[in-house]
């Protein structure tokens, strides 16, 4: 239903653009759009995928009993790093790694990593102790308890973290242009500088679409991959 509404709004905008002649302006940048979308997807894809893998891994690691002494401190540190504005993070990365795609990817990775770590850790910690106790009493080892009890029961919260993180990622990716990372930011920022609305929209519209599509995909994954018994979206 929300996606139908979005589709309607998109159609209305497309119609408006066509009628005002801006549509033709935008289409002049077709080649740039294709090239930059690919670059953009590389930034988002690599930083996002690495962040999911590393974030879930670190979150799980922090939730282990052996880490209990350091976990809270580490999460506090994560929260502090999260509060640094993303633009500042990118600037810091540029200082450390120079300009280009690498510092952009690392900067996006860090911005994306943190909500995933936090939600994985908190999600696993929120699994009731008596479930873990029952699992152990039934003869599950620590690995089995993690795979069959802790992760499935934390999955909804982990997915919520991933969705938030990817929204941040997709929303920040255009800024990568400012440190030489390329991507659709090139059209947006150049368009703003030149007061060239067609160019600006040629970057902005695909960025917006990407955000909607990414959120839709992760929303669907959350809906279908989280077991029904622990999925508030599917408990009618």
């Amino acid at each position: 239903m929300p996606y139908l509404v979005l589709g309607g709004i998109a159609l209305a905008i497309a119609g408006g653009l066509y009628a005002s002649g801006l549509g033709a302006d935008i289409l002049r940048y077709r080649k740039d759009i294709v090239y930059l979308v690919k670059q953009h997807l590389v930034l988002v894809g690599i930083s996002g995928a690495c962040a999911i893998v590393a974030g879930v891994g670190i979150g799980v690691g922090l939730s282990r009993p052996a880490m209990a002494r350091w976990a809270e401190g580490a999460i506090q540190a994560v929260n502090m790093v999260t509060s640094i504005p993303t633009l500042a993070k990118l600037a810091l990365m540029m200082t450390l790694l120079g300009i280009g795609a690498l510092p952009a990817i690392v900067g996006l990775w860090i911005a994306t990593l943190l909500p995933i770590i936090r939600n994985t850790y908190e999600g696993i910690r929120a699994v009731p102790a008596h479930l873990v106790d029952a699992a152990r009493a039934m003869g599950m080892g620590s690995g089995e308890i993690l795979r069959r009890v802790e992760l499935p029961n934390a999955l909804f919260v982990i997915f919520a973290g991933v969705r938030t993180a990817m929204a941040v990622n997709v929303g920040t990716a255009p800024i990568a242009f400012l440190i030489g990372g390329g991507g659709l930011g090139e059209l947006i920022f150049t368009g703003i500088d030149l007061q060239e609305h067609g160019m600006m929209l040629a970057g902005a519209i695909p960025t917006a679409l990407l955000a909607v599509v990414v959120d839709f995909l992760f929303g669907q994954a959350q809906y279908w991959l989280v077991p029904r018994g622990v999925n508030p979206l599917r408990n009618s």
């Binding site: 152990r136 499935p152 018994g229």
Partner: protein, 327 residues
């Protein structure tokens, strides 16, 4: 058979060591239900959790079926012991069938066999398999969930069940029902059960033997009737309550105090007892009717004997009689 020998657990606390379980020794025979009874913090749950090694004993031995459990890998040991807890602990991410299939899956059973076993167990616990197999725990009532919890503990037919206040969270009506079902099942399954409870009525109902704990020590280990008739000390007497004689009534059958046929013939018609009734009904009828004797009739309505007030009093009061009645 389960045998505990001088089982002890000491916890280190900032205030110094605390002995949660203090040299507890007891033996539970095959097919028997032993209720560990006591106020909270008395060590009964810790004792239970040492048997499947969720808690490691500080000293002492546990033998299951003659085998020293120290020599068994804890994970293998736990897979062979059914475990039921008050919070039920069904995994909310798994269906009922998957929950029941947890231990079978750990033991490598094929999916079809796991499902068949889940069907069997649901039927045994009076839950219609077709309706419940694919439900999730959040779609069950409390009583249904605890039935599934019991089914899950029985999945691989372990000879030993550990139950930690399994029915304490249920409402009284449901609790009675599931206790009755469990007793009926236990008559055929003959599991060796250790059952933690803080409820004397539940203990009297479920137990072959009651182990009463106080501050980590076993203060009395005896049949329910003996515990009620002869509490070992003031603590046990206080714990079982001043109405312990009334509680004993449910443990004694009419047939045990009945004077056989002939004597009842002369009694007037009116409400009668059945030989399998317990003495609660006899006591109720004595109070209601005010007589000194009641007829006992068999299911066919034939008079088979009578129960007198004097016989009931002798059974309840006489020290010798009570001891003779203890198995």
């Amino acid at each position: 058979m389960i045998r505990l020998e001088a089982l002890t657990r000491v916890y280190a606390t900032p205030q110094g060591p605390v002995t949660a379980v203090d040299r507890v020794s007891l033996a539970v025979g095959d097919g028997e239900t032993c209720v560990l009874l006591g106020p909270s913090g008395c060590g009964k749950t810790t004792t239970l959790r040492m048997i499947n090694r969720l808690v490691r004993p500080s000293s002492g031995k546990i033998f299951i079926g003659g085998r020293d459990t120290d020599a068994v890998d804890p994970v293998a040991l736990r897979r062979g012991i059914g475990y039921v807890i008050q919070q039920i602990g069904l995994f909310p991410n798994m269906t009922v069938a998957e929950n029941i299939g947890v231990v079978p899956r750990l033991l490598g059973w094929a999916p079809a066999r796991r499902r068949r076993r889940a069907e069997e167990l649901l039927a045994l616990l009076a839950l219609e398999p077709a309706r419940f197999l694919d439900r999730y725990p959040n779609e069950l009532s409390g009583g249904q969930a605890q039935r599934v919890g019991v089914a899950r503990a029985l999945a691989v037919d372990p000879p030993v069940l550990l139950m930690d206040e399994p029915f304490a969270a249920l409402d009284p009506v449901n609790r009675e029902a599931i206790q009755d079902e469990f007793l009926r099942m236990q008559r055929t399954l003959r599991k060796t059960i250790l059952f933690v409870s803080h409820d004397i009525d539940e203990a009297v109902k479920m137990a072959d033997r009651i182990a009463i704990f106080r501050a980590g020590q076993l203060v009395q280990f005896a049949t329910p009737d003996t515990v009620l008739a002869h509490p070992a000390d003031d603590f046990v007497a206080g714990f079982v309550g001043s109405d312990r004689t009334l509680k004993r009534l449910r443990l004694i059958r009419v047939r045990d105090v009945m004077t056989p046929a002939g004597a009842g013939d002369a009694l007037a018609a009116g409400p009668a007892l059945a030989p399998d009734d317990d003495l609660r009904r006899a006591a109720a009828l004595f109070l209601e009717l005010g007589g000194d004797a009641l007829r006992c009739v068999d299911p066919g309505g034939r008079v088979v004997g009578c129960v007198t007030r004097a016989a009931v009093a002798a059974r309840l009061g006489g020290r010798d009689a009570a001891q003779a009645g203890a198995p």
